[in-house]
Symmetry: C3
Subunit: 316 residues, 3 copies
């Protein structure tokens, strides 16, 4: 999605302004098409979104910013704030500061495990997100935003050459201390194996007595400039949610305006059978911000019902 | 309302940007005044709105875009989407693509009957819409967005010289197929009669067993550059809503900053008496986007109670 | 908060536009930090806001405009409009026109008493507003937006040299006339006392049988360019809310990037003991729109429980 830096661009040409205090960038997206839901009902789909991306720099060189989407402005119910109710923490938004010390992000952002691991989203989009919402899809976020947590994650990250790491904290009950918080740590490393860069990730998150803990690894690499393969695995110590392990993989081909991909996920349970599901996605770039998008998810409700969509995705 | 094309304007003067991927235009409107409601209670009125208008062009020359208002961002309840509830189709928004093949619009847009027929809105505005919300007002939309339908209309339209046509489809129940969908077809033709252009419209919409069908015609012409007259008529085959016919007419005078108009509507029912109502509107353009606006509706609740407003409408 | 005048800036450099019809300015703010609530629970705090500020000028030189925040777009419940429910008066927004005759503002704005009196907010900010939300905090707004009123205030104001005055009206029940409206009048005067400007305020608001009436005075002055002191007092004739008087004071020190302040408030009741509370605030300006902000309120729930916050406030 293209970002339009309104303030800075204009200020550059406007002597009347004293000094830029920051910029509010405005970008938009829209979707138009058809989708078939889990009941097999074929229907229209349209969606429009506007995003505000804000950024600034302190006199000392610290960068700071925030992001909010147009549909994230009335979120009291989901805010997780228990006192006072009028306080609205804008779930879905995030705020950051960064500098030579690294970067600190607070809000609707990835925990350290999710941050470290690859997402099996094929780097492509479908209008109703079919290829990333099937039941066993692997996104690395299994330990974030769970029951009792408030969805506000604080994450610190930094990078040293090919090595990056992050630590994160998500509070369980707004600091009341009755339920355990979730701590996380993650590392990323880019290894050059025979001329090919392989992105490795390793992460751990622990939510104490709430949802147990999990450790995960992933690897991703692009071959021949067109094929990207990813694989990820998370092992849970989590009796409360009956989770034993989650594995995921994807294969994606991108060439010129064409992108196609498939992904697969499988969840092993502590008690009961394992279940798996897969997704497929295809994009054709029409240029100017428009893409033809197809998506498929093999099981979107745990009953084996699939879902697909076909339409045009637009970015402005 | 003036549209401000942010991105394109700025990008033109900014060599640093690679290529425009589309534009997000920002415009606003506001109202300030007094109104007297159906109970005769005289009170303050203020309203503020922001609109985002997005547009782009593909490499192949297709145009695409979308529109969303600031108050249309949390519409789950009205979205009509029955599964899954988290899916939000942004009722009130619309998305389109257009090219040499014509134009395809999806969302909160007119069905083909409404598209073809004239609106008796006098082309003028009042702060509480008194002149277009009286009970028998004729807007041509009698067959759109009715009970059971999801409010998402897909419309295809094209123009050949003085002739235009459109077809439309509104689903009744998100593709479940239990309730009949609404199909429509409409044509527009501009006839030159004795030196005066007369805009003619003819449309038909059929909702099957749901709300029956309707056929409508309208004619509109401007005389002497100042007077505009319109007349419209819809005949229903609609037992479920007790509608037999709907007639509407308006007369508008516009000269320089002044615009005044009256409109009239009358509904014949299958069973029971007919009912009618009328509206009046006057605008005085102050320039710069501000207008003094007066509006009146003779019956806004079916009980004969009238409503009026007086204030300033602003566009930015 | 910095305002970015999008339209005017761009139009100046764009010959293709016919004439500016007004401008929509986009600005943003964000907060990031920790706060301790009244229960002593220490937790994360993040908040993101976008504001749209619109302005225009008529051909005759009248200025007009409106303001709306991103989180004020779905306010039916709070709108106070009782008929029809679909009408939304956008509480939280305001609209104005101004010219040589003065300025007329409608919406979420100060009544004349509040307009005339000083706010004990120290001119500084804290991320969870701790220093301005303690129970006896003095903001001068005791007579605005009370039970039964609709929160829409109409205020006329004008200035003659060092002298300014305002009158205001807030309706109690959307013009039904069963409950008394609130009228107000206020005056401001800047007196030069021994070389120091002292800003004086005097105001009166009367809500009839609803919440009685109140008269208030305040004085504010800055000494030596760094210290600002304010004091205010309101005397109530208000049996329904058990209010006898409200006194408030603040002392603020600002020098370079540093601002620190304390404020105090005390409420005398007609029946029962008086109660008081105090707040403290400290800001350190990092430049570029970012500030480190600390806030404290000694009693935020009437039970003696305090609240504090520490974080970064950002403006874009």
């Amino acid at each position: 999605m293209k970002k339009i830096l309104l303030a800075t661009t204009m200020l550059a040409g406007t002597a009347g302004f004293a000094a830029a205090e920051g910029a509010v960038a405005l970008s938009g997206s829209a979707e138009m098409g058809i989708w078939s839901d889990a009941y097999g009902d074929l229907q229209f789909w349209q969606d429009v979104e506007v995003k505000f991306t804000m950024s600034g720099t302190t006199d000392g060189g610290l960068e700071f910013g925030a992001v909010i989407d147009l549909d994230e402005t009335n979120v009291d119910a989901a805010s997780g704030q228990d006192y006072p109710s009028a306080y609205n923490d804008d779930s879905g938004t995030s705020v950051y500061i960064s500098g030579s010390f690294g970067k600190l992000t607070l809000g609707d952002t990835d925990g350290a495990l999710d941050w470290a691991l690859a997402d099996m989203d094929n780097g492509l989009t479908s209008i109703t997100d079919d290829h990333t919402t099937h039941v066993a899809w692997f996104g690395g976020s299994d330990m974030d935003g769970k029951a009792g947590a408030d969805g506000q994650i604080l994450r610190y990250e930094n990078t040293f050459g090919a090595f990056g790491f992050a630590v994160s904290l998500e509070q369980a009950d707004e600091g009341e201390g009755l339920v355990d918080d979730t701590f996380g740590i993650g590392v990323k490393y880019t290894a050059n194996l025979g001329g090919t860069d392989v992105n490795l990730g390793l992460g751990y998150q622990d939510s104490g007595d709430r949802d147990g803990s999990a450790i995960g690894v992933s690897a991703a690499a692009t071959f021949g400039g067109a094929f990207t393969g990813k694989i990820g695995y998370i092992s849970f110590d989590d009796s409360s949610r009956n989770l034993d392990s989650h594995i995921g993989a994807e294969l994606t081909y991108v060439s010129g305006p064409i992108g196609v991909g498939v992904n697969y996920g499988k969840v092993e349970q502590v008690v009961g059978d394992s279940y798996d599901s897969w997704g497929a996605v295809a994009n054709y770039d029409l240029g100017g911000g428009a893409k033809v998008e197809f998506g498929y998810g093999s099981d979107v409700n745990g009953l084996g019902d699939d879902q697909w969509s076909l339409g045009i995705g637009m970015s402005f």
